[in-house]
């Protein structure tokens, strides 16, 4: 009743989603240099370009939006590009996240990777509003981490330049677009009474969104700068571990949502399953290549099928979950 679609994001949700998406990147890829600001700058540029295209509050898919602005052909190309970028970002993030878990569990890397993929798919399937809510709850953990950082002041060092970090932030273009496209500001036609009542009514919507997202990017950079000096000891290690995993999973889920939003909106069930099969195939092959376990070349087709039996079962669950993410909200009829 209050939030009509399951993919609606309020401005606060947008801020925290961007903040934690970038913070997770800084933590996962261990970007400790203040020059990570560079990454933020590039992110800000990307955001500006996105918002400059005239993003409006849309509850429908990205393809529809681009089709209206640029025509069908260009829309397909843009969506295809964003899909590839999001797929790579998703795989890369989840793979790094899984790698940060491996040391605590030995060699069962595939299982952890699949568990993370499924958890991310479950989260993404619940919709963007749930993901942004999760990001807002993350602020509680933020307080604990900031509290720890007070005891260990950060030291400035104009050290190495993280060109890789800058490139990785480009991978988030799809996520930023999806977030901006689904944000509903007070005063928008689709804004609910509750949102209109509680929020600041921006005069210039584009500038407002741009300010929010760049503000979040710089806040994330500042935050990671503050907490970088906290040494590894019992409680701090634990907090950082949980923060890295939680924020990392949120990052993966956002990438996955963006992926689903670009691909599946408005598609029928057959198309969704086919697309998912292709995507899943891409993910498993990439996963196998990166972890040096490409089963097809090493053990033959039969073994590969057996080896991938668990992933095949997971594929079904994954398809069901992810298929929901691109779907508009279905109001459940409850009596």
């Amino acid at each position: 009743m209050k939030i009509e679609t399951k993919n609606t994001v309020a401005p606060a949700g947008l801020f925290f989603s961007v903040f934690f998406y970038l913070t997770a990147g800084f933590l996962l890829f261990e970007i400790k240099s203040p020059l990570s600001f560079l990454a933020c700058d590039i992110t800000a540029t990307v955001l500006f370009l996105i918002i400059a295209t005239g993003t409006r509050s849309e509850s429908n898919g990205t393809y529809d939006f681009f089709a209206r602005v640029t025509g069908d052909g260009v829309a397909s190309v843009i969506c295809g590009l964003l899909t590839v970028v999001s797929l790579i970002a998703f795989f890369s993030d989840t793979h790094i996240l899984a790698e940060s878990v491996f040391p605590y569990y030995g060699e069962e890397s595939r299982l952890i990777f699949y568990a993370l993929v499924l958890t991310a798919a479950f989260a993404a399937s619940r919709g963007l509003s749930v993901l942004s809510s999760g990001a807002q709850i993350g602020s509680l953990l933020l307080v604990a981490l900031l509290f720890l950082s007070f005891f260990y002041p950060a030291e400035y060092s104009a050290g190495d330049v993280h060109a890789g970090a800058a490139l990785r932030s480009l991978g988030g273009a799809g996520v930023f677009f999806a977030l901006a496209a689904h944000t509903v500001c007070p005063g928008d036609l689709t804004a609910t009474g509750a949102l209109n009542a509680r929020g600041y009514h921006p005069k210039n919507r584009r500038l407002y969104l741009f300010g929010l997202m760049t503000g979040a990017a710089f806040a994330a950079s500042l935050f990671s700068f503050l907490i970088q000096s906290v040494p590894s000891f019992g409680a701090a290690t634990f907090f950082f571990l949980i923060a890295k995993w939680c924020f990392g999973l949120l990052r993966s889920s956002l990438s996955l949502f963006a992926l689903a939003n670009f691909c599946f909106y408005g598609q029928n069930r057959t198309s969704r399953v086919l697309l998912l099969a292709v995507l899943w195939g891409g993910i498993t092959v990439l996963g196998s290549v990166f972890s040096g376990q490409l089963p097809l070349g090493l053990n033959g087709l039969a073994l590969a099928v057996c080896w991938n039996l668990a992933p095949l079962i997971l594929l079904a669950v994954f398809s069901l979950l992810l298929g929901e993410a691109g779907m508009p909200h279905k109001k459940k009829d409850r009596t």
Binding site: M1, Y104, A115, R126, Q136
Partner: protein, 485 residues
């Protein structure tokens, strides 16, 4: 056209084999009267004062034919049109009066003589306060509605009456403040209430389970309270109350997660202390939920993340114990729940003794006998005590805690983290009558946060929660300055 004997027989036949159904016939001159009522459900004193005595006096004064309807002294006299209305009236505790020479198209008269005697509104044991009203709801729905009206003296306090339960025909009242409550939530609530198709509604708990969001939800999405001041406060925030006849517990919707850490007494305290205790409650709830699971995950799977001195102490305290830490924690929690359940079901005096014996003697003996280690006992006891700090979630937390312990024991910190993520996602997706369950934290609302973990003084809480009311309502302008009127 039905005659007096036909009506009498028809109505009496509906209540056959009901020993508490009574019929009193009498004549005044040529006119015959018949009174139908349920013993004890209708007050005999009221029947005498409202019906019998005025009719006798009228007959003595007039000695002729007089209109009985004009002579009856009751405050609520209704003209019944058919036998169904007459039946409903009798079942509701009213008296139905039939007499000869009744006006055409009229079946009889119903007079409100319901026996409203019940227990007085004592302070509820489950929600005691040091500072605040020591008054609680009772079993009568009418009296409960009156308790709310006494606090909210406005014509905007509306009341809608429903009857639910095919056999019990339980009276259910919906009360809300017009202009404050969201009409969409009200219509959704009424839809869900009217959709209840059950034989019996014996307590408000039945209604709560029928109208909650999610048929098999673990955490409640419908609030309840026995305190009129608390429910009045919720109505002022735009919530809607559901009063069920026969139950001293009044339901409120929508119910949000933050309400569990709010206590009526907080609003009468210093804002600093109120904030402090709310933070304490929140941390205690986290400890109750996650400390045992984290303890199991870290000690079983990741001892390297714990301080070495603690690991050493734990190892020494667990020497020669027959169970693993995982099994030990589950066992002690299981025992604790048994003792708690026994303490609740026994009479008060015995119950406290059982709790004392269970917690002190059994616990101490278990350590002495080498069944449990003192370190584990400390963690389990701390988590168990902390669980009592948020009564609305007490039972749900027990189940969730067990689940977290099992997952953490089986999969370690990664399992704990995955379960936590799924829980958070589920909570974020949860709604109570369309309002996000985690509001005002997610979606974040700065105004709503004024009454969450950090609490501003009541005079600074100027706006009603917008997610509940659906609009911006200024409910207080704060303290006036000296030069203001």
């Amino acid at each position: 056209m039905e005659t007096y004997p036909m009506k009498k027989e028809e109505l009496a036949s509906l209540f056959s084999q009901m020993s508490d159904f009574s019929v009193r016939e009498f004549s005044l001159g040529e006119r015959q009267f018949c009174l139908f009522f349920l013993s004890n459900h209708s007050s005999k004193i009221l029947m005498h004062d409202f019906i019998l005595d005025p009719l006798m006096r009228a007959y003595e004064e007039c000695h002729t034919v007089f209109p009985p309807a004009d002579r009856i002294a009751g405050t609520s006299v209704t003209r019944l049109k058919n036998v169904t209305e007459a039946k409903e009236a009798v079942l509701s505790g009213f008296c139905v009066l039939l007499y000869t020479g009744m006006e055409e198209g009229q079946y009889g008269l119903s007079v409100s003589t319901r026996n409203e005697e019940g227990r007085s509104g004592t302070e509820p044991e489950t929600e005691t306060v040091i500072r605040g009203a020591h008054e609680g709801f009772v079993e009568s729905a009418e009296q409960n509605a009156m308790l709310l009206r006494r606090r909210l003296k406005t014509e905007k306090l509306k009341k809608i009456d429903l009857t639910i339960g095919q056999i019990t025909k339980t009276a259910v009242s919906v009360m809300y403040l017009e202009d404050m409550a969201d009409p969409a939530i009200l219509s959704e609530l009424l839809r869900r209430l009217r959709g209840i198709d059950m034989d019996g509604i014996l307590d408000s708990g039945y209604v709560e389970l029928c109208i909650q969001d999610g048929r098999y939800a673990v955490y409640p999405t419908v609030g309840n309270s026995e305190r009129p001041d608390k429910v009045a406060g919720k109505l002022l925030e735009g919530r809607i109350a559901v009063i069920v006849d026969g139950s001293p517990v009044v339901l409120t919707v929508p119910y949000l997660f933050c309400e569990a850490i709010q206590v009526a007494e907080d609003y009468s305290k210093s804002t600093y202390y109120a904030t402090f205790v709310r933070v304490i409650r929140f941390i205690a709830m986290l400890i109750a939920l996650y400390l045992p699971a984290l303890f199991v995950a870290l000690t079983v799977w990741h001892p390297d993340l714990l301080p070495p001195s603690f690991v050493e102490t734990l190892t020494v305290s667990r020497e020669d114990l027959p169970f693993s830490v995982f099994a030990e924690v589950l066992l002690i929690f299981g025992l604790f729940e048994v003792i708690r359940e026994v303490g609740l079901r026994m009479p008060k005096a015995v119950g406290s003794a059982v709790g004392l014996v269970g917690s002190l003697i059994l616990g101490d003996s278990a350590v002495d006998a080498g069944i449990a280690s003192p370190t584990v006992m400390v963690f389990v006891a701390l988590a168990a005590i902390c669980n009592f700090i948020v009564p609305p979630y007490m039972n749900s937390n027990v189940l969730y805690r067990f689940l977290m312990i099992v997952i953490s024991g089986a999969f370690g910190l990664f399992g704990f983290f995955c379960a936590l993520s799924v829980t958070l996602v589920s909570l974020c997706a949860k709604r109570s009558f369309g309002v996000p369950y985690l509001y005002p934290l997610a979606p974040m609302d700065a105004r709503g946060l004024a009454d969450y973990l950090l609490m501003l003084p009541v005079w600074r809480m100027r706006h009603a929660p917008s997610a509940i009311t659906g609009k911006d309502i200024v409910r207080a302008l704060g303290r006036r300055r000296k030069n203001e009127n």
